[in-house]
């Protein structure tokens, strides 16, 4: 059964809610009454069935292994959902008098304490709404710090293997972006970096572990060189899952790092959000961090949210407010629930198992697939392959990924990072069992064997058993249909 759109099944008469009749009053809308809207009405049974059916067209962690490199698709404990729905967290208003939300502020303060201690950094800004927003926060603090010194540095250095968000963020903050090449071993080229550093460079944005799944062994040297040049080190924290509890970024000389709560700390991805991207800061950047802040004074939690409150305050040089209100409270509760469940010991085990799982995948496949940096030693939490092993088969990285769908898996990350050809980046995460990995490995080996056996035709039109075959993305972009009208594209 094809699932129609709600606009195709609703009408004007039905509704899925009942409401008490309004009291009779004279309207005070000033004559600005609403015109026709054009929304369909449905009863509750129809709505429940519609969205239940739609959901069944999705793949999800709850259904199977989700080896999406750099996305950390790990198990989402339902305890976290339950905790986020406690009325004491879910049903409080951001502008209630602070005495009436002491528990909420305590929760934010507790999570902040964990994040600072795990990273070894003295300050954390909690309000950024997602990873990219956290990057923005970090870069704004860096820019504010330079401005406070009266410097107008214009350049941000970004390694080739950076996440796409990094250059976008730097540009958004008004910086010119320059790339730094990678070494043959997939790391930042330290000498190239040193050569480029100078008084025009504001910051280096680095990802560590990097997007090849490798730790930067020269990280301390990099930081020292950057600091010596008067610049700051921004670290993309998307890959923190590989080292949480094992390494404190503060010990590596990082000045700012966002933490994707929806990656490392398992708040659900929810089909694309909401996320949360708190940013930890070194002592050098801490004064510039954005408002608001929770401050613990004895038994009371204060909320520092007024820019006017700067005088004499530790946040006197704050670059200001990034969002209305105080950040992603619902995500904070989930993350703290996850963090407390693991504890300092469990989080360390998380990193160890994530890295162990990735290396197990790497070493179980590198005889039949090509691992460009496999020879340089262990990977961190994700295993990177290129498409060298597909040469001459007529099968592409994309084809392998789509064929995985029919085997019950989400595709791995494809064509990223850009530094290798036809990249396949596999991040199993620590919440997959050895049995699940063994099954996944066997499946991939089977597909590789079929590709090498000349079955390119099979691959080129996979998947066959998904809710949809391959979709025409060119048509969508060429002739954008972005909202429903009675004339369907498919009917043409």
């Amino acid at each position: 059964l094809e699932e129609p759109l709600i606009f195709e099944i609703g009408d004007n008469a039905r509704t899925g809610v009942d409401l008490p009749a309004p009291p009779k009053v004279a309207s005070r809308l000033g004559g600005l009454e609403r015109e026709a809207i054009g929304l369909p009405g449905l009863s509750e049974p129809e709505v429940v069935r519609h969205y239940t059916r739609l959901s069944r067209q999705n793949f999800a962690i709850d259904m199977g292994l989700f080896p999406l490199g750099s996305c950390t698709m790990k198990h989402n404990p339902r305890l976290n959902e339950k905790m986020a729905r406690l009325p004491g967290f879910s049903d409080i208003h951001p502008l209630q008098p602070v005495d009436s939300v002491q528990g909420a502020l305590e929760l934010i303060d507790s999570l902040a304490h964990w994040l600072k201690t795990l990273t070894g950094m003295p300050e954390v800004a909690m309000s950024p709404k997602a990873g990219a927003h956290g990057e923005l926060c970090g870069m704004l603090a860096i820019r504010a710090a330079h401005e406070a010194r009266g410097e107008a540095r214009k350049v941000v250095l970004v390694p080739e293997s950076a996440h796409g968000t990094n250059p976008a963020t730097a540009a958004f903050c008004g910086y010119e972006v320059e790339n730094i090449p990678a070494t043959p071993a997939g790391r930042v080229d330290l000498s190239a970096l040193k050569a480029r550093l100078g008084p025009d460079v504001a910051a280096v944005m680095i990802t560590n572990p990097n997007t090849c799944g490798l730790f930067e062994p020269e990280m301390i040297a990099i930081s020292q060189a950057v600091h010596a040049a008067g610049a700051y080190v921004y670290c993309d924290g998307a890959n923190f899952n590989a080292i949480v509890g094992k390494v404190r970024p503060g010990d590596l000389g990082i000045d700012a790092m966002h933490i994707n709560l929806h990656k490392t700390f398992s708040t659900p991805h929810g089909g694309g959000g909401p996320g949360a991207g708190p940013v930890v800061f070194s002592a050098a950047l801490a004064p510039f961090a954005p408002l608001p802040f929770v401050r613990h004074t004895g038994t009371h939690f204060e909320l520092v949210e007024e820019e006017q409150a700067h005088g004499g305050d530790a946040h006197a040089k704050s670059f200001g407010r990034m969002v209305a209100f105080h950040g992603q409270m619902g995500m904070f509760v989930r993350a703290l629930s996850y963090i407390m469940s693991h504890g300092a010991d469990g989080l360390r085990q998380v990193a160890e198992d994530a890295v162990l799982n990735a290396n197990y995948v790497l070493r179980s496949l590198d005889d039949v697939m090509t691992a460009p940096f496999g020879a340089s030693g262990p990977c961190m939490h994700e295993a990177l392959f290129d498409d060298g092993f597909l040469e001459g088969t007529g099968v592409s990285t994309l084809d392998i990924a789509k064929a995985l769908i029919d085997e019950g898996y989400h595709p791995m990350t494809m064509y990223f990072p850009l530094v290798v050809h036809g990249a396949m980046l596999i991040e199993p995460t620590e919440t997959e069992s050895k049995a699940a990995l063994d099954q996944f490995i066997a499946t991939l080996r089977h597909l590789v064997a079929r590709a090498k056996a000349g079955e390119a035709d099979y691959f080129r039109t996979a998947p066959y058993f998904a809710p949809r075959r391959r979709l025409d993305e060119t048509l969508a972009a060429r002739k954008p249909v972005l909202s429903w009208t009675p004339e369907s594209i498919a009917a043409e």
Partner: protein, 456 residues
């Protein structure tokens, strides 16, 4: 370690295949100076589910919750009744634990609801197209200012005095580092039209102006006709950005599109979302066809699959950062997927009839409460037209009065002193929001609390 499937035997076997003597060997690239030899110090060890639940529940119990007291707060975040089926459906693992729908073959569930969401938002706002949501209203607002710059190639934004001060602050923070000039003024509590500065804005538009940003209903609940302002913007080549922070108003108040707005940004939390102490919320963003390629954020579009069946994909992604890197329209990578799903489901349940009924109920109840509060000696109701929120002038400073009221178990409104801490002219003002959720008893308690506050 209930979330970790590997056993000690598994780990040994896996290290064997890897050929590593121990797990620490896998971390050998980490500089020795930075390697921790054990759990991070100063933090507790793992806890059972029961213990975590106890600890977090203890924190939760320290907060005064909206359901349990007379509650009348708004100013950008509203308490509405959300049907139980909404939260049930968004918790289905297939929605909750799925990823951004980059693999459309196995993400039609997400993609189709995004397409429905976009259509709903476009129709509600009276605009042609909407994106697949943004972080919240305040970040959507600053994105609209940047979009206006891209469209007009000008860099001066005029912000209405009636715009939520947090939205103003966010715009100032982010534009500080760009070339945009942001012009904003302090609101005045004009009787009949608090915070209304449409005339002043019309006068201020010049050839440098990229956009005028007006919230409607504004922070003080005032509802204005923006048609003339829109016409004036268009004459001058500027865009009108309309901001709506209470999405239920779409069911009662003429839409931004009908008034001539070029971009509508808003906070969608009211439909499907909870208060949640300010987040996660739902940024709404809509505009007209001609500007769609300058629109930030994800877009879902209709297409067909290899068998000719209708399907949906993320599209026009050349605007986005993961493709464009430094040339992207914004650096936003995450939307508010699950919150937009809640919005879509709640809106589907409401339908046009339900939304209109809900808005009518909100309005009628608000009018009743406003009249009762305005009748208290010493209290002045400042609003002429309003939807479900209005501003009172008290004979006393409002912020301490609201604190005392909260101590007594009544959340009676947002004191303007909280939002404009330095502005003494606003210090006696308080904004009261009324929705379908308050009982008659709640209203009686509210009135009594105000009588008490005024008499202090």
């Amino acid at each position: 370690m209930r979330y970790l499937p590997l056993t000690a035997d598994d780990r040994t076997a896996m290290l064997g295949r890897i050929g590593a003597p121990g797990v620490d060997d896998l971390f050998r690239d980490v500089p020795a100076a930075a390697r921790l030899s054990g759990p991070v110090e100063g933090l507790p060890l793992h806890m059972s589910e029961m213990e975590v639940e106890r600890a977090l529940s203890a924190m939760a119990r320290k907060n005064l919750t909206a359901t349990h007291v007379p509650f009348f707060l708004g100013c950008g975040a509203y308490k509405h009744h959300v049907p139980a089926s909404v939260d049930h459906l968004i918790q289905r693992g297939e929605f909750l634990t799925s990823y951004t729908p980059y693999q459309p073959e196995i993400a039609q569930g997400t993609l189709q609801y995004l397409f429905e969401f976009q259509t709903q938002v476009a129709r509600l706002t009276g605009m042609d197209v909407a994106n697949a949501s943004m972080y919240d209203g305040s970040t959507a607002c600053v994105e609209a200012i940047f979009m206006a710059r891209r469209v007009t190639r000008r860099a001066k934004a005029l912000l209405s005095a009636g715009l939520h001060p947090h939205y103003v602050a966010v715009a100032k923070t982010l534009t500080h580092f760009t070339d945009d000039a942001v012009v904003a003024s302090v609101p005045t509590l004009t009787e009949g039209a608090p915070g209304d500065d449409v005339a002043a804005l019309i006068a201020a538009i010049d050839d440098e102006t990229s956009c005028v940003v007006v919230q409607n209903p504004n922070l003080f609940g005032h509802v204005a006709d923006l048609s003339e302002l829109a016409a004036r913007c268009h004459e001058k080549g500027a865009l009108l950005i309309a901001v709506v922070t209470e999405a239920v108003a779409f069911g009662a108040v003429r839409s931004p599109g009908a008034m001539g707005a070029d971009i509508m940004v808003g906070e969608g939390q009211s439909i499907g979302g909870g208060l949640s102490f300010g987040g996660p919320y739902l940024g709404l963003f809509a505009c007209n066809h001609k500007h769609v390629r300058q629109m930030p954020g994800r877009l879902c579009g209709e297409t067909v699959d290899a068998e000719g069946k209708r399907g949906f994909v993320l599209t026009l992604s050349t605007r986005e950062q993961h493709i464009r890197r430094e040339k992207a329209t914004s650096n936003i990578c995450t939307n508010s997927g699950l919150i937009s799903l809640a919005f879509t489901i709640h809106m589907s349940l409401l339908g046009e009839k339900g939304l209109r009924d809900l808005a009518a109920l909100n309005h009628a109840r608000a009018v009743q409460v406003a009249e009762r509060l305005g009748a208290i000696p010493g209290v002045t109701l400042l609003n002429g037209p309003f939807f479900n929120e209005f501003t009172l002038a008290l004979p006393v400073e409002a912020r301490p009065a609201m604190r005392r009221m909260a101590d007594a178990g009544v959340l009676g409104g947002v004191a303007l002193g909280r939002l404009y801490p330095g502005e003494t002219a606003l210090a006696n003002g308080v904004v009261v929001a009324v929705t379908e959720t308050q009982t008659e008893d709640d209203v009686d308690e509210l009135v009594a609390a105000y009588e008490e506050a005024v008499s202090c």
